[in-house]
Assembly symmetry: C2
Homo-oligomer: 592 residues x 2
């Protein structure tokens, strides 16, 4: 049945909502798709339900196609399984925790690895039962510190999560590949530009993982690409260890550098007071910056960490976070300095850093710091730096860490040219979990030889509500949304205009014919609304094809308009059904 | 695509699960439809998803048919709207409450009147926007003290909740009637015996309400019927006030009745020591029992309440609960007696009860206690009762209360014969809410005269997961489930048996043909499972039509079996598709 604007629960807004930042989010609210209830928590109105239904159907079809079976786990879960894997604690403040009337600890599921693992353990016991792939489409909960951009990062959101179970790594690889292919089909059908990037597994654990990012300037994720097709989330970029170089520097020497607590002031002072013998200018890249942060472990213990990196780079907060997870990163504050009197703030050097040194603070170096290279760095005394301190000769560290910022133009880790940076919205994430969860929860099966083996798992997620948000951000113009055909709330928006009742009678007839031909219609049948308002609404709502029935009807003509291109043309009223079905057919093919 | 037993995520159990009480619940677990995660919290396995999908589709279709529009509100909600209506407190321990990372109070929605009301207030402002009906199918949460019978009373469950919005009571009546008709269609399609009973609105507020009960000995609700078609939940039965009678008793007189703290001991003592002049035996019905309970109001204050009723009746806990809601009922304990020394336990009488009497305890009488009737009741002194105490002459109360038990054979309140009692499972509940929520939340629209009027609401619920449970309890035998056609996990269960590969090849072909004819197939294609196990599984799972392909195939025969009747007959293999589609067609018609 056609959605009729005369009765549709909808009130389009001419003004942008105060609580929306991104253009797509503003339009979703203005056009009556969604409505905010609380930060990161949204209601789906009838038009939004149409789009959500299309997106869910695409995901479900592609999951069924690879033989994944649909189930539905509860969202409200007991604590115990999440304790067994440590995630009850590791999730930190992101987990919604609550107590029931009997004071039992419960949580709102952020993702369901534990629960699927336990159910498979309950029901299955043999390698003959595997491989197995299960999925659900369900509400998930994460108490985000910064819920963002409407449905792009909500605190309650719909996710499709799948889990695969195999006896060995080869099986996991097959399951992973099948899901990867299914995801490619899903995102192709959604109709937006995306990129598959290597990703860090983060708190999920496991070995390999990839993200599907919708390419968007509004994305929260930064990714890199090179000419060879390599693409990775910045968190997952692995800079190669710089090869050892021959030592050419003379002996290290401490120099007075008063009032140089920053790299900028240090470089200026070096060039003024300590010019190099060969006349080259000192730059920030010649200095070794030592950054101290405080790690807070899930059990609450605090541990400082020192990171040494070239002075022309910053530590990238996200790269650092994933490297130290499940610990969280906090600033190293004045009061912390008070507990470490050997740290001369602004002049900290490798002399006191390291587990074996005075501070006992773990010291990790950026891999670009080559053994044999010479640096200007802090001399652990206020107002003094040391020049020509050589890595491997004069100092060592406890290891390396991939936490420095990645920049446009950096050499690609593949060796193929340089990196380009772009932003994306994470739409899907696939993980080779391996045995982490199965081991923690004791999921084993008998193999062909009657030996118990731990099951190997994969986990795979698509943000369903987020997909709607991402599609909206990528498909709009100044006046409204422009839905890709496959996820549009209707195939065609029929707009009847004017005060002539015969127009509405004819429009009703056309709507009936379109529906008989299997076309989904949004029908603007409102009697007392001006054509101008109706056109504005149709542009705002963004159904891809708009048919206007009005004055031209006297001459047997109606107007057919393409929302994306803006092209409009008159066609004979008798051709409407044929023209509309042709357009739908063409576009559907084009997106496959 | 057929569900194939060889890969289906399913392990049927031969033993009853320890945590299940009712036969349908046991079978749902044994046949692999659902699985318990925590008390009142269940996972839906692939077979369960099939049934759930059918039930949801029926509900959705019938809601769409009456023009109700689908939306989806969050399950995780802010506290404020529920504070405005008082339900944050009134729900007591049944509400799951939690705090987010910013310490804001939130809840898991038990039902969404407040949220729908606020959204309509946000978007609509004129009588022209009404009537409006909205619905959602969504997870609901109630922290039941006694989660029961699997999915019949869960703590997380799926509900279809609808809300109607009208300018006046006449509009509400129309919306209510439309929903009532839709519910009749829904429950007819589910295919079980149900009854529509008058109900008490309870904590929901509002004026009229009716429940749809599945008639079942396992039901938690007791309802009454009389010959005239009247049916009511016991909580909603309104006993008429007994008409005044002429006083025939002499003056009241206090008599010693030592050691008679119970009605039974009292009646024995009366007949022994205080026989009546006319020789009639004393019975419990001649005594007036005064029961004291403690009401706990939502704000925590405690208030005793005294109920006077004939000694041959008990107070019905559920009837009392709905009459005193939102207060909760607790026992009046020894320590409470200590605070009321004028109450002689076992001998309490109207002499001290009532707001104006010594105890100041509110005193309410059962409506069967006629003005003018004489009673034996406590004399407020240990070991003493008063005889011939006449209502209206010797004592009065503060009012009446409908809280006495209803018994099979009681006179019907309609005046048509006597009441019959039965049990039922509440499947749907429809409420004429009136303006309670709209007033609390300020939902008003301009009427035709430009005057602001408060919107009149209705609310309507169907327990979707509960429906699956109720259908299961009503459709089973000793060996398994027997699904009604409309909600069965498949139309036909094709069982291929034996070791002859040609049987499986032919079975595959038949399955393909059935699917081409639009028939949903569950296909037992397992190679190494005995026919006996396959037959047991098919009986346990309960698909209404079973086709067995095996040895008879050599003679061109297969067996077709009706799960409900147990009838089985051989048919020609070439007739399978025609026979199966005929059976499906007949039954589908029969249930409409």
């Amino acid at each position: 049945m056609a959605l009729r604007m005369s009765t549709l629960f909808l009130r389009t807004l001419r003004e942008d909502p105060a609580d929306a930042e991104l253009p797509g989010h503003k339009l979703l609210v203005r056009a009556g798709y969604i409505r905010r209830v609380a930060p990161g928590i949204y209601t789906w109105l009838p038009l939004g339900m149409q789009v959500l239904g299309k997106v869910e159907a695409i995901v479900r079809e592609e999951m069924n196609r690879i033989g994944s079976q649909e189930v539905k786990f509860p969202a409200l879960l007991p604590r115990e399984p999440y304790d067994a894997t440590g995630r009850w604690t590791e999730y930190g403040d992101n987990l919604f925790r609550l107590k029931d009337r009997k004071d039992a600890d419960m949580l709102l599921g952020p993702t369901h690895e534990e629960m699927f693992c336990l159910t498979v353990k309950d029901l299955y016991s043999s390698y003959k039962d595997l491989p197995l792939a299960l999925f659900q489409i369900q509400n998930k909960y994460r108490d985000e510190a910064r819920p963002r951009a409407g449905i792009l990062r909500g605190r309650e959101f719909i996710m499709k999560d799948s889990y695969s179970f195999d006896v060995d790594r080869a099986g996991l690889q097959k399951s992973y590949d099948a899901h990867r292919e299914a995801y490619i089909r899903i995102f192709n059908r959604f109709g937006f530009e995306y990129v598959i990037v290597k990703a860090d597994s983060g708190a999920m654990g496991g070995s390999a993982s990839e993200e599907f990012l919708a390419v968007s300037p509004h994305g929260e994720d930064t990714f890199v690409r090179d000419e060879s097709g390599y693409a990775a989330n910045v968190e997952a970029v692995e800079i190669a260890q710089a090869p050892e170089v021959e030592v050419t520097a003379g002996p290290a020497h401490v120099e007075p550098t008063p009032d140089t607590p920053t790299i900028e002031t240090l470089v200026a002072a070096l060039n003024k007071d300590h010019p190099r013998a060969d006349g080259r200018e000192w730059t920030a890249a010649d200095t070794l910056k030592n950054v101290i942060v405080m790690l807070v472990h899930p059990d609450g213990t605090r541990e400082p960490l020192a990171i040494g990196l070239p002075g022309d780079r910053e530590v990238d907060a996200k790269r650092l976070e994933v490297k130290v997870a499940p610990a969280e990163v906090e600033a190293f504050e004045e009061k912390d300095f008070a507990s470490y009197p050997m740290l001369a703030k602004g002049y900290i050097g490798p002399g006191v850093l390291g587990e074996e040194k005075a501070s006992k603070i773990r010291y990790l170096l950026d891999p670009s710091v080559a053994v044999g290279s010479a640096w200007v760095t802090g001399a652990d005394e206020h107002g003094k730096h040391v020049i020509d301190l050589v890595h491997g000769r004069d100092f060592t560290a406890d290891g390396t860490i991939q936490a420095a910022e990645i920049r446009e133009g950096d050499a690609s880790p593949t060796g193929h040219g340089t990196l380009k940076l772009a932003r994306g919205i994470e739409m899907g994430h696939i993980f080779q979990l391996g045995t982490k969860y199965a081991e923690a929860l004791g999921l084993k099966v008998l193999d062909e030889n009657g030996k118990l083996v731990t099951v190997t798992m994969g986990s795979y997620g698509v943000g369903v509500t987020r997909a709607v948000g991402a599609i909206a951000e990528d498909n709009l113009d100044d006046i409204g949304l422009i839905w890709p055909r496959n996820v549009a709330p209707a195939d065609v928006h029929v707009v009847a205009t004017g005060k002539d009742e015969s127009v509405f009678v004819k429009a009703e007839e056309i709507v009936r014919e379109l529906e008989a031909a299997g076309v989904e219609v949004l029908f603007d049948d409102r009697r007392k609304v001006s054509p101008g308002v109706k056109f504005k609404d149709s542009e705002l709502i963004g159904v891809p094809t708009i048919v206007v029935i009005g004055r031209g009807l006297a001459d047997g003509k109606v107007e057919i308009k393409d929302r994306r291109s803006g092209d409009r043309r008159e066609i004979a009223v008798d051709d409407v059904v044929a023209e509309v079905t042709r357009e739908i057919g063409e576009e559907s093919e084009a997106t496959l």
